[in-house]
């Protein structure tokens, strides 16, 4: 379930963001702590340093130099993770309730079909999830594939998911949702193209009550 053992492009991009930030943070931390140590091991070392160096240099310039590129990098990678809204992408409607997940495959040939607590996707293909809840707030999270997004009653949130290779990925509810919050786990099964069609074909038809989520975005 590690966010660092990635299996999809979204998780991979965030993991590299993490490694970059970890290195940066370690350098900054070491630098600041060394300064601090120097003030004790070499007392008076800063007596000749103009006050402005500390305040302008340390207080303003230093964070500006660090944060500006970080924000730009983050904005760029966030933009790529946002759902494209491309109509060609397969759509699955996700409904969370205490304490189960229901997945409705809207575009399945032969009418919408449904599965519970297991989401079937095709490996290498992106899928767009339209997520809502019928009771309290939950959160949909598959650590190895992508970041999480809340399932909020009355709203629909959107997450784009893609697994690079076939396999089973564990998912869980990340927003505290009551006594069985822990039990609200699910699996994402990524199949090869052929196998995927067979699995979808074998799913029961969706009953109307769990049809397309309603609510404001």
């Amino acid at each position: 379930m590690s966010t660092l053992d990635t299996a999809g492009p979204a998780a991979a991009s965030i993991a590299s963001l993490w490694w970059v930030m970890l290195i940066g943070a370690t350098l900054i931390f070491t630098f600041v702590m060394s300064l601090l140590a120097l003030t004790f091991f070499r007392p008076g070392i800063g007596r000749g340093t103009p006050v402005a160096w500390w305040l302008v240099g340390g207080g303003l310039a230093f964070p500006a130099v660090v944060l500006t590129p970080l924000l730009i990098y983050a904005l760029w990678s966030g933009e790529r993770l946002f759902p494209t809204g491309d109509p060609a992408v397969a759509q699955v409607d996700v409904v969370a309730r205490q304490w189960e997940w229901t997945f409705t495959y809207r575009n399945a040939t032969g009418g919408a079909v449904r599965s519970s607590n297991t989401l079937h996707i095709q490996a290498g293909q992106p899928v767009q999830l339209n997520i809502t809840s019928t009771d309290v707030i939950h959160a949909f999270w598959v650590p190895r594939l992508a970041g999480k997004i809340d399932a909020i009653p009355g709203h629909v949130t959107v997450l784009q998911l893609k697994a690079d290779t076939p396999g089973v990925y564990r998912g869980l509810c990340a927003e505290f949702c009551g006594v069985a919050h822990l039990e609200m786990q699910f699996a994402v099964e990524a199949h090869e193209a052929g196998a995927f069609d067979a699995v979808i074909g074998g799913l029961p038809p969706a009953t109307p009550d769990v049809n397309a989520p309603r609510g404001r975005p």
Binding site: V51, G58, G59, G78, G154
Partner: protein
């Protein structure tokens, strides 16, 4: 006038002590003195820290091993909710409130806080509200929805029991003390300083507390409004957060985090204030960049109110908005870095001593720096999507809170303990305690970042061994027990030092702020006479005969070195310049704050138990008792200028425009206005964002009733303004007539609002109806209180407390009348305007 000028310090001490002291035995319950109440806040806060700590140990014991059967989910949910709640609301905030109460008057050169009885009232509200939560915990009825109580989980459908009500009502009760402390701290810093202490000569700690208090003033009202709305929804089914009926769970999140994010800075700033106070003393030089620091504190305060959305990055907000809040969040790094480097620069150019408090300050640097860095990471949106609600966040928040609050507060404990107790330590248990806490802390929380990255969400009561989290959790648990031993040792050390320490010599650290000019432990009145300040380091200067300010003051060679009329007196100054402005007369010990808090408790407990009739009575009696506080209080004749010693004179506070209580009303109305704005924001937010709008029915509010309300409000505002015009003030019948008109105006407005409220068809049907109803109820309540305050003004006038010179009571009332008129008109605008906009 019976001036007794004593130059004999012992005699002066006896005279002052007689009027400032608190009776022994049961009389202690009547204490209002800031030294006593401040100490009580601190000790009580540490008791709650102990409780929160035990809960933390239960959490860590449960998580130490996979599939542990120690606590089930029902208990575990209560335990982590109460841990978070106790630490945030019952420990952190009250602790710094107590420290501020104890220190501020001494640092500013005053004899007490501006409103001693309010301090005591706030303290009792805190104790009673906190006890409600703890009793709930003991009975197994504690809240179990997490410390931010997200709806709909905390709504009646999904949390049917009393648990959530205990949280909402207990915390709101406690928040009375936060708001009263905020007002009191601001007014004290603004007005009760030693003459000559202009704002730019104020100790930095006072600047930190000033900004913190303002943040509390604007931060707590949204939480209180949210809690009240949620309680109304739970009790009476008015659907503010129910999406099926036009409510929205996101409204709760906005209101909560509008409070919750500033809250984190509210906790951090006082601790940073301790850093900026203690560090330069132990570095043996003045802090560098005083002005820079002041500016960055203010910048932090402003920024922190624009960041709340970074707790909501996963609720599906458009990317551009996310980017904005992300950038704003990282921008906090600037004011933080300014302070960080000002501290390091001060150390680098001073001669730092590695004394015990310094050790804890270094602990702060290490731990908080790390928390700040992970904070920047969390502000980066994509990364947040991964680690939000995982143990990474748990680790981050403890790095920030323990680093940015606990370590500085422990430093403060060791630094000021000689001042509190008059004793200094005999042994060095404190060093061992530091290392246990420091190592234990990092052992617990450093690897917890990894636990989170490996996918462990927060708030789960157990885990299986498939995920690879076992050893991480075990190490965390071991570390937390090491830390617990450290805290136990700290407690033992403090108790030993207080009971058996050596007598400390005065000003043991060589500090330059005024609190060290008092005797140790401090006398009830702080200073036998008040200093005149001409620099930022008052302790190094002396206007008196000896070169020792403390001795000069004890000999009565400053201001007010005497007792007049047996009254408790201190000085008030003009806000910016610190010019002498007034003699502030303060109340001494009384049981009335305790009784008032008890009746307030009756109100809250009856709301909890749904005895609404008793609650209504409790509310009315509470208001009546608060008004009773002023009985016999004030002057019945004009005094004019009074001597304050050193050849200077000033009028009493009842005869100046900038009296402390006038400021208190202004600030109270700021808070009230924030609450009102939150309510109006809620209504508009639902209209724009919530599902199931537009509502099934649009109201067409009665024009007649609205017109009645408008006329009433206008009359009240106009009459209130007339009642404090010089001409009216001079003549009792005239001013009483105007007050009667103001009261009648409020009465008419009240009638209008009640008619409008009763015309709202079934407010449980839709959030629009519910919001309209509550908005009207809010202004109706204010109009009703307007009637009371107008009548009260007449009573005061009749009793002889008002004259052209002594207009304080009426000016305070006039503020209320004008404010009520304003919010009433806004309410009418909203309820008439909204249906028109929606209908078109």
């Amino acid at each position: 006038m019976t001036d007794t000028t004593a130059t004999d310090p012992i005699r002066l001490h006896k005279q002052l002590d007689r009027i400032w002291s608190t009776a022994p035995g049961f009389g202690r319950l009547s204490a209002v003195n800031h030294t006593i109440v401040g100490r009580r806040f601190i000790v009580t806060a540490f008791v709650f820290f102990g409780i929160g700590g035990i809960l933390a140990m239960l959490i860590r014991a449960q998580l130490a091993t996979p599939r542990s059967a120690f606590l089930g989910p029902e208990i575990y949910n209560q335990v982590f909710t109460m841990h978070g709640t106790a630490m945030m609301f019952l420990f952190a905030i009250p602790l710094f409130e107590g420290l501020a109460m104890y220190l501020l008057p001494k640092m500013l050169g005053a004899r007490d806080m501006a409103f001693p009885r309010l301090s005591a009232y706030g303290y009792w509200c805190y104790v009673f509200g906190g006890s409600m939560l703890i009793i709930g915990l003991v009975l197994g009825l504690a809240p179990d929805g997490g410390w931010f109580m997200y709806t709909p989980l905390s709504s009646r459908t999904y949390t049917p029991g009393i648990n959530a009500d205990i949280w909402l009502i207990g915390i709101t009760f406690v928040e009375i003390s936060a708001l009263s402390a905020a007002i009191e701290i601001i007014v004290t810093i603004f007005k009760l300083r030693a003459p000559g202490m202009s704002l730019d000569k104020m100790p930095l700690f006072a600047w930190y507390m000033l900004v913190t208090a303002f943040m509390m003033l604007f931060g707590f009202p949204p939480l209180i409004v949210g809690s009240v709305l949620l309680e109304i929804e739970r009790a009476f089914d008015l659907p503010f957060f129910d999406p099926a009926r036009g409510g929205d769970p996101l409204l709760w999140q906005h209101l909560f985090w509008l409070f919750g994010h500033p809250e984190v800075y509210i906790i951090f700033l006082p601790a940073a204030g301790v850093m900026s106070t203690v560090l330069p003393v132990l570095a043996r030089r003045e802090i560098i960049g005083y002005i820079w620091i002041v500016v960055s504190i203010v910048a932090m305060a402003f920024l922190s109110f624009g960041l709340w959305v970074h707790h909501m990055f996963t609720v599906g907000i458009p990317h551009l908005a996310l980017a904005f809040f992300s950038a704003a969040s990282t921008a906090v790094a600037f004011p933080t870095a300014v302070q960080f480097f000002a501290w390091i620069g001060t150390l680098a150019s001073g001669r730092p001593q590695l004394k015990l408090p310094m050790l804890f300050l270094l602990g702060f640097f290490f731990v908080f720096a790390m928390g700040g860095l992970t904070g920047v990471m969390l502000a980066i949106v994509p990364f947040n999507w991964q680690v939000h609600d995982t143990h990474f966040v748990v680790a981050h928040l403890h790095y920030v809170l323990v680093g940015g609050f606990i370590f500085p507060m422990l430093a403060a404990a060791y630094y000021w303990l000689p001042h509190f107790s008059g004793r200094s330590p005999r042994h060095s248990l404190g060093i061992t305690a530091f290392w246990l806490i420091f190592v234990g802390f990092n052992l617990t929380f450093l690897i917890m970042h990894l636990t989170g990255l490996l996918g462990m969400p927060r708030r789960i009561y157990t885990y299986d061994d498939a995920a690879g989290w076992e050893w991480l959790n075990l190490v965390s648990s071991i570390g937390s027990f090491v830390m617990a031993i450290g805290f136990a040792l700290f407690t033992v050390d403090i108790v030993l030092q207080v009971t058996m320490g050596r007598r400390a010599k005065r000003n043991p650290w060589g500090a330059k702020t005024l609190e060290w000019a008092t005797a140790m432990p401090p006398p009830t009145y702080n200073f036998a006479s008040l200093p005149s300040v001409t620099s930022r380091t008052p302790l190094t200067e002396s206007g008196g005969k000896s070169d020792n300010l403390a001795i000069d003051l004890a000999r009565g060679q400053g201001y007010l070195g005497f007792v007049r009329d047996g009254r408790l007196e201190t000085l008030g100054v003009e806000i910016t310049s610190g010019r002498l402005e007034q003699v502030v007369r303060l109340p001494n010990s009384t049981f009335i704050p305790l009784f008032t808090a008890m009746i307030t408790g009756v109100f809250f407990v009856s709301v909890l138990l749904k005895f609404y009739l008793v609650a209504a009575i409790g509310f009315v009696v509470t208001i009546a008792m608060l008004l009773m506080w002023t009985r016999g209080w004030g002057d019945r004749a004009d005094r004019g200028l009074m001597s304050v010693g050193l050849g200077e004179e000033a009028p009493p506070h009842t005869e100046v425009t900038g009296a402390p209580s006038n400021w208190a009303m202004t600030l109270g109305l700021f808070a009230n206005g924030t609450a009102y704005a939150s309510l109006a924001f809620g209504m508009l937010f639902l209209w724009v964002v919530a599902p199931n709008w537009p509502p099934p029915v649009l109201l067409d509010p009665s024009v007649l009733a609205s017109a009645l309300a408008v006329v009433g409000l206008a009359a009240a505002a106009f009459a209130a303004a007339r009642s404090v015009a010089p001409a009216a003030l001079a003549r009792a019948p005239q001013r009483e007539l105007w007050l009667a008109v103001a009261g009648a105006g409020h009465g008419a407005a009240l009638a209008g609002f009640v008619v409008l409220m009763t015309a709202v068809p079934d407010p449980t049907r839709h959030a629009y109806l519910a919001a309209t109803f509550v908005l009207l109820a809010y202004v109706a309540l204010h109009a009703a209180l307007g009637v009371v305050f107008a009548a009260y003004g007449i009573v005061r006038s009749r009793a002889g407390y008002v004259s052209a010179l002594r207009s304080l009571d009426l000016r305070i009332g006039a503020q209320w009348h004008r404010y009520t008129a304003a919010i009433g008109l806004i309410a009418l605008l909203l309820i008439h305007g909204l249906p028109r906009v929606m209908g078109s």
